[in-house]
């Protein structure tokens, strides 16, 4: 559907304009210390863009109405946003990014810089590494599409059945164990495209790997369960979070004509495993959305405004674009992520400054605010003019300076003297560097870190002085006392300007959204960015602001990002009641699940299990009288937590009350996601 960058005339013209920004964005990203996958850029038109977005950034997916739905939504949204699709890049090596033909050059540049940072995140975040070190995603998804299309066109298989089966499986697409690497359930799935011999080696690798898995899968316990249903074995021994995997192993289909469970058809097993694999492939993206989008927005901004990647005339458009992206209502992962990254950068840099200052004779954490002249500090940490405005100081730069890229400096100097000879023509010859356009080229990552030092930016002035007493005390407690400075000047001369960025790179390697929020959301951050929590209150019948305390904000955010923001449901027993029934259990964390939806899910799980399915959960109930009383007193009623067994036997859904001891093990006792102030409670 889309064509490579050089394919069409319009596209070619755009491509020619963008070739330099593409190359230079990649160069700049690497100078900043990023290590992105190579990115292939494609130019697509508006419709193609919407198609790509609907398909999750890929050109081919298996046939399914849900892509149609996403396309439809995307188009409607496009009408609202004036037809602007911003960026789409997929996690692959090389990554593929798509540029919309009709966007302005400044939009394209923004997309390109943004994409380079995503490609860095894909390549370096460990959670992405869990699926595969270098995913061959486009090819994998295309193989999946081929396989499913083949089932659909197979005259032996009813196409409608395939579609329904896909629907059933997708219902559980988030019910995988996303914290462990993907392992195929068995090796029987043959997805190798006969004409695609290049993939065979990789496929064989997969087979090898899977042989080991086979051993794990066909455990004695499992064989027991298979061999003999009457012996009453409950399995799995430990609750299984990978519900899809469990169903792939032990599930059956329900044969309506025979009114009994029967073994899944081969195509059913294949479809299940294909979708499970895709769920594992996409899981890291869902788990790192805040971080990843924030990371991309951060570096995009550093390149576009920090290094004036946007030309003067483009800058206004770019600012407008950023305002649109960041200004959309509701909790916006771009904005939250960007703000946290900026906070990490600032607070790490501040820590560096504070540590230096605390080593100055006479400065302690107790007298810090009284003895330190913050105006002076602010002046002293100002980046060296040599790196701040490279063009004006080209002659002063020292090739031996670790902040300077010696080769590039030489090239830049040659270019400048050449252009002086040629009476002011800009340098453009091969290998020469135009320092006016690309001043960053003559600097190293260290030099750029100083050039972009966050604490001296206008919006961050005062950040150092706002350091809290508590933080000062903590910092000083972990400091080794050996080196002392005589003066503030000496201390600050030693500042490591690169500390913020290097900390950020570490974080982007090992964190996911949950750990990211857990670690970096502080009261200072919550106050500065005005976050608050809200709850539904029974007394007013609407949502009310409940807290601006960071621990509360964190709790609520964690709830939204832990386990894809979904309740955790595990397989507790595959031989429930000793009747081969499936028992799922909702691990209740204080927030109940949507019971109505859960019933619909169970109906679909039944199709994948073939026999009755059950779900244990805990619900909150309000006594009507209590609610009335509470309202009159303007208080919140206390709900009662009750155990429930939701069951679907293929015919009807029933809900029955369970004694507390049957669900007690599911109730979390130490987590409380409720942020209502105590004094509201009745």
């Amino acid at each position: 559907m889309s064509r490579p960058i050089h394919d069409r005339i319009a596209a070619q013209r755009i491509a020619a304009d963008l070739e330099e920004p593409v190359d230079e964005a990649g160069n700049l990203a690497r100078k900043f210390g990023l290590d992105p996958y190579e990115v292939n850029y494609w130019i697509v038109d508006y419709d193609e863009m919407n198609e790509l977005i609907a398909y999750g950034g890929f050109q081919r997916r298996y046939p399914h109405w849900r892509w149609g739905m996403q396309y439809d939504r995307q188009q409607k949204q496009g009408q609202f946003l004036g037809g602007k699709a911003f960026e789409i890049v997929n996690n692959d090596s090389p990554s593929h990014a798509f540029l919309q033909e009709s966007n302005t050059v400044s939009d394209q540049k923004a997309v390109i810089t943004h994409v380079e940072a995503h490609a860095d995140f894909f390549a370096n975040n460990e959670w992405f590494g869990m699926f595969a070190d270098r995913p061959d995603a486009a090819a994998m998804l295309a193989r999946h599409a081929d396989a499913i299309e083949a089932f659909m066109t197979d005259p032996e298989i009813d196409r409608g059945e395939v579609e329904k089966w896909i629907d059933h499986v997708l219902t559980l697409e988030d019910n995988i164990d996303q914290h462990v690497p993907y392992e195929p359930i068995d090796t029987r799935i043959d997805l190798i495209d006969e004409h695609d011999t290049a993939d065979v080696a990789e496929q064989l690798e997969e087979l090898d790997l899977s042989d080991e898995v086979k051993g794990q899968v066909f455990t004695e316990e499992w064989l027991d369960a298979q061999a003999d249903d009457e012996n009453g074995t409950s399995f799995p021994a430990e609750p299984e979070k990978d519900v899809l995997g469990f169903l792939r192993k032990h599930g059956m289909r329900y044969d309506e004509d025979a009114a009994r469970a029967d073994e899944m058809a081969d195509w059913q097993k294949d479809v299940l495993e294909i979708l499970r694999r895709e769920a594992y492939y996409f899981a890291p993206q869902k788990m790192t959305k805040v971080m990843n989008e924030g990371w991309a927005a951060f570096w995009e901004s550093a390149m576009m405004t920090g290094e004036t990647f946007a030309g003067d005339d483009e800058f206004v458009l770019y600012a407008d674009h950023m305002a649109k992206v960041l200004g959309s209502s509701g909790l916006n992962p771009y904005k939250l992520g960007l703000e946290i990254w900026q906070y990490v950068e600032n607070s790490t840099n501040r820590r560096e400054v504070v540590e230096r200052l605390l080593r100055v004779e006479g400065v302690t954490w107790r007298n810090f605010h009284d003895t330190v002249d913050f105006e002076l500090v602010q002046d002293l940490i100002e980046p060296d003019p040599v790196v701040a405005s490279v063009g004006e100081h080209l002659d002063e730069l020292d090739p031996e300076d670790p902040r300077v890229d010696a080769d590039a400096l030489e090239a830049a100097r040659e270019a400048r003297s050449a252009s002086e000879r040629a009476s002011g023509e800009p340098a453009s010859r091969e290998g020469e560097i135009d320092v006016e356009t690309y001043p960053w080229k003559v600097l190293t990552t260290e030099g750029l870190a100083e050039r972009h030092y966050s604490l001296t930016k206008p919006q961050n002035r005062g950040f150092v002085s706002r350091v809290s007493q508590g933080e000062l005390e903590r910092v000083s407690r972990y400091m080794f006392d050996e080196a002392r400075y005589d003066s503030v000047e000496d201390a600050l001369a030693d500042i490591d300007y690169g500390r913020g960025w290097s900390r950020m790179r570490e974080i982007r390697e090992s964190h996911n959204d949950v750990t990211f929020l857990d670690e970096f959301l502080t009261q200072e951050f919550v106050d500065e960015n005005e976050y608050f929590t809200y709850e539904y209150t029974q007394s007013t019948g609407d949502y009310r602001v409940t807290s601006t305390d960071y621990t509360d904000v964190k709790k609520k955010l964690m709830l939204q990002f832990t386990n894809f923001g979904k309740p955790t449901v595990v397989v507790e027993d595959g031989n429930y009641n000793n009747r081969n029934e499936l028992l799922l259990a909702h691990q209740y964390n204080g927030v109940m699940l949507d019971v109505g939806q859960a019933k619909d899910v169970l109906k679909r799980v039944f199709e994948l299990w073939g026999r009755p399915v059950n779900l244990k959960t805990i619900v909150k109930e309000f006594d009507e009288h209590d609610v009335e009383v509470a309202k009159r007193r303007d208080r919140e009623p206390e709900p009662e937590e009750v155990g429930r067994l939701v069951r679907y036997d293929g015919d009807e859904v029933t809900v029955e009350e369970l004694p507390w001891d049957a669900v007690e093990h599911l109730a979390a006792d130490d987590i409380d996601y409720d942020t209502k102030p105590d004094e509201w409670l009745a």
């Binding site: 609907a54 399914h64 892509w67 993206q285 509701g330 809200y534 904000v553 939204q560 679909r604």
Partner: protein, 435 residues
């Protein structure tokens, strides 16, 4: 296969996705709608999943906020399943099928098998129709010049004849003016004797015998009929006559507008707890939409009452709660007063009241029923909302029902849970239809 096909499949899957109207009325979120646009949630086609109860989940917002401030329920991120960074996708906002009240009424008719035909009542002031009527006098600007010209032309044509031909006839040897006049009249030429005499006198003597006979003259002279002559020579003048003048004036059309005034009465006394209030809202709101959709012009009057009655705005109507006792007749007294603005001869009227059937003793019998009889309306209805079955003293509905058992314009409906709402609406609307 490809995205086109995915889209088609989606449309097929989603075809029936609009929430069933009855289900929407009974359990749906009515609050998303505005008076001029009914928003029926589209059943989310998307697949179900294990998800948190949205109310119980709460959330995080951004902005300057104080504890206790109300928050617009914000869409939760993560509702969408965009797998890649697709901006603007945040928040799985609900989708709505928007219909105007007309469509709502039509759909409800279909759904419930109703067919209420509203009556046109009020004569809207004489609208001026086309300028099709005519009169003999009037302002110059309305003069029908076309007609005047046509009449003049007709007149001209009627008076016209082939003068040259008649002159030639006078040249026939032996024909004198008398013969020619006789001949011309026989030929239906509108020629006068005076003209012939004059023409004869003007002929030179030698020409008076130019033709041997009529046949010779006719063979040598071309007779030109009027149309040809006008075409050849044009018309010098068209004789306009005052008697041909006509002035146009507009036709007066008496249009009857299908208009309706709906009086919604609600008991807001202490016994009307939240559940009862919600049931009233669920019953009244669709009725309002329905009537608004059925009539060209709908006006609404909202009356709240406990022991006294007062008129309120729609926004407050369903939320008000007061203490105090209940005297339903107070509301009917006010209704009668307010309805004076909407004379029965010109307005369709609906008077809907709702409450839990509690009333002060004898009020129903002695005041309410007589008032209901006195207030002419297409339909009176009482909706009893009593979630927990009947209370002992709550007999208003029954009394009304008993008194008006045979009347075709009074409906009583009982609503004890949302399940009953649609039946109640049917009961009310079908009562009028039968009458």
């Amino acid at each position: 296969m490809g995205l086109r096909e995915d889209l088609e499949r989606y449309r097929e899957v989603g075809e029936e996705r609009r929430q069933d109207l009855a289900e929407f009325i009974q359990y749906g979120d009515l609050g998303q709608s505005r008076p001029d646009s009914v928003r029926v949630p589209i059943k989310i086609v998307d697949l179900p999943e294990f998800a948190y109860d949205q109310r119980d989940q709460g959330g995080v917002g951004q902005g300057d906020a104080e504890e206790g401030d109300p928050v617009d329920a914000q869409p939760q991120p993560g509702d969408d399943d965009g797998e890649d960074g697709d901006p603007g996708e945040e928040g799985g906002e609900h989708e709505y099928y928007e219909m105007d009240p007309e469509e709502f009424a039509q759909e409800l008719d279909e759904r419930l098998g109703l067919d209420l035909e509203p009556k046109g009542k009020k004569v809207i002031e004489e609208t001026e129709g086309d300028f099709t009527d005519i009169t003999r006098s009037g302002p110059t600007s309305t003069l029908d010049f076309e007609r005047l010209f046509k009449q003049g032309l007709k007149r001209k044509l009627a008076m016209d004849f082939d003068r040259d031909y008649v002159r030639e006839a006078l040249k026939i040897d032996g024909w004198g003016p008398a013969t020619v006049f006789e001949w011309a009249r026989g030929e239906n030429m509108p020629v006068s004797r005076a003209w012939i005499d004059e023409a004869y006198d003007e002929l030179p003597e030698d020409e008076k015998t130019a033709w041997e006979s009529f046949e010779e003259m006719d063979a040598n002279t071309e007779r030109v009929d009027t149309a040809q002559r006008i075409r050849r020579e044009g018309i010098d003048e068209v004789p306009f006559r005052r008697e041909d003048e006509r002035y146009r004036y507009p036709e007066i059309v008496e249009e009857r507008e299908k208009n309706v005034v709906v009086v919604n009465i609600r008991d807001v006394s202490g016994s009307m707890r939240q559940k009862k209030r919600e049931l009233v809202e669920r019953t009244f709101t669709p009725l309002d939409w329905y009537l608004q959709g059925k009539y060209d012009n709908a006006e609404f009057v909202y009356i709240a009452h406990d022991a006294d009655a007062w008129a309120v705005e729609r926004d407050e109507f369903f939320g008000i709660r007061s203490g105090g006792g209940t005297r339903i007749s107070s509301a009917y007294e006010l209704a009668a007063e307010l309805l004076e603005e909407y004379p029965w001869s010109e307005w369709n009227r609906y008077v809907f009241a709702a409450g839990d059937s509690e009333n002060s003793s004898n009020d129903t019998e002695e005041h309410v029923i007589p008032l209901m009889e006195q207030i002419p309306a297409n339909l009176h209805a009482y909706v009893e909302t009593q979630p927990s079955g009947n209370a002992i003293n709550a007999t208003h509905a029954e009394e009304v029902e008993r008194s008006f058992r045979d009347a075709g314009d009074v409906a009583v409906a009982y609503v004890s849970s949302p399940d009953d709402v649609v039946d109640a609406i049917y009961e009310i609307l079908s009562t009028e239809e039968e009458s």
